[in-house]
């Protein structure tokens, strides 16, 4: 800055910026920190401190509170543990099938709903958003009954002759996974749709007009305009959905309880079982919990790379 040169001496004399006295500045700093102190402290105590403890525990083994250090034993066990590998596989299957399907469905819905000439828009929006009000446990129990062997879903499918005998939605390893995926999609599609709807309202309509004049079809408009325009919000929702799916617990616990066998069990549920259902092995449970942390980091990085600014 070269202001002093341009200012005359008398102006300079008026200028001495009232620098706050040292004690006052210190006081202001202290006030600022005291506003953020409680929250920072609590997050330290209830998030970061437990993560450090979990890291230490992941090198220990034993039952209940009697833990002793075992080095990397837990980590070696991890890669030889068929149940752990199954839960990772299950969780990743949920993730790579459910998240894209749900996001595409939510995008389609938001585009259709964004049409200005559409009637009963408010009704459709509220109806599709409605599943968000249910608690994960409550809707899981409802889905468990709907998809029971003699439940409404099978009854309907048989009535319209789509299947000749009841689908084993809860007891067949393949269909049980499908049931879980359908359930999560039911619960969260409307939620994601609301994000896209609000983002679409900020998209300049003239772009679509221009595309129409150029002869772009509705599908071309969707993939060439809508998706690129909504990229940041799609990235945001796919990361939050990924983090949510990697932590999946309530649904699986209440719809299939992880069964049949371990074919629907998720990593979170395995941690729960290791700690509170089987003979408690907190050390190994902590090791497994780091696997989720690592998966979250990996998938977030992949998505940032995929959704980043490369054209």
């Amino acid at each position: 800055m070269n202001i002093p040169e341009k200012l005359g001496p008398e102006k300079l004399a008026k200028k001495p910026a009232p620098r706050p006295a040292r004690s006052l500045r210190l006081k202001n700093t202290l006030i600022g920190w005291s506003f953020v102190a409680v929250a920072s402290l609590l997050i330290g105590i209830f998030y970061f401190f437990p993560m450090v403890q979990a890291l230490i525990m992941s090198f220990q083994s034993g039952t209940g509170v009697n833990l002793s250090f075992v080095g990397f034993e837990n980590y070696i066990r991890l890669f030889q543990d068929p149940v752990f590998l199954t839960t990772v596989k299950n969780t990743v299957i949920y993730l790579i099938i459910q998240v894209p399907v749900m996001i595409l469905l939510a995008l389609f819905l938001s585009v259709v709903l964004n049409n200005k000439t559409l009637k009963w828009k408010g009704f459709f929006r509220t109806a599709i958003f409605l599943p968000c009000v249910t608690s994960l446990v409550a809707y899981s129990v409802v889905f468990k009954y709907l998809f029971a062997p003699d439940g409404i879903v099978n009854m309907t499918l048989m009535k319209i002759n789509l299947v000749s005998e009841p689908v084993q939605w809860l007891t067949d390893p393949f269909w049980a996974k499908i049931t879980i995926i359908l359930a999560i999609t039911w619960r969260w599609t409307g939620y994601n749709m609301i994000f896209y709807l609000s983002a679409l309202q900020n998209v300049d309509q003239s772009i679509y007009e221009a595309a129409k004049i150029d002869g772009a079809s509705a599908i071309q408009q969707f993939f060439k305009i809508t998706i690129p325009m909504l990229k940041p919000i799609i990235l945001f929702t796919s990361i939050t959905s990924t983090i949510g799916t990697l932590q999946l617990f309530d649904e699986v616990m209440n719809i299939t309880a992880g069964g049949p066998g371990n074919s629907t069990m998720t990593i979170s549920q395995y941690i729960y079982n290791l700690s509170f259902k089987y003979t408690p092995d907190f050390g190994y449970a902590a090791t497994v919990s780091y696997a989720i942390v690592i998966l979250i980091v990996i998938f977030s990085i992949i998505q940032f790379k995929a959704g980043g600014d490369k054209k």
Binding site: V65, F129, S135, V142, F249, A286
Partner: protein, 274 residues
Amino acid sequence: MKSSNKVIGYLFLSICAIISIFPFYWMVVSMTNTSSDVTRGKLLPGGHFIENLKNLLQTVDLVPALTNSAIIAVATTVLSLLIASLAGYGFEIYRSKAKDIVFNILLLSMMIPFAALMVPLFRMFGSFTPILPFIGIDTLSAVVLPTITTAFLIFFFRQSTKMFPKEILEAGRIDGLKELGIFFRIYVPTMKTTYAAAAIITFMASWNNYLWPLVVLQSPENQTIPLLISNLGSSYSPDYGMIMMAIVIATLPTAIIFFFMQKHFVAGMMGSVK
């Protein structure tokens, strides 16, 4: 839009709307039917509402569970809002390099899955039990404490504070208000809608929370609503009418909030992406 596209659009929306609403319809209808009617696939309201309600009240401790859930959800909401808004305000108004670093570290906690925290937290609260029994394992406080501070909510308040007209703060200082007085007398009243949105998302998350209460609560008298529903749902010979009654009652508070405050609810969701 071409008319054929329009028909497809309406068809698509209608199917999705029916699928979205059907489980709710089924829940509400089934709570008025006997268990065998529900199994038979009856989709019309019946006359067993009172009977199902009576059964439910006799079979499980519904009122205590509702009370526990309400105490936990209200306490969590009040404390969360206070702590997170103070912090969000502090990070934005008294911004400094060091505080920005702290803020970014706090944001990292959003990546931590709860499943990774539950074992160390369980042990932490276990160690509280002998010295501070009122916040130890199997207390409502133990459910509340780890959930009252989320980086998300701090982030949410900080983002909203960016829109706050800071000149008002100067005016408050000139009027001789202390810093905390400015916060409570000026900031809080002007940010009512932000608080409403934050309150809704926090209340709903707390009311519906399942995993941590499942881990930390043990005695039946401390049971919350999701735990009660989960127990009912895993019974071997379920009374469907009665269970649907419980599910509807559990969903009612959040459904009411949703219908009357949908705008604030959406604002709360969007606050995270602004």
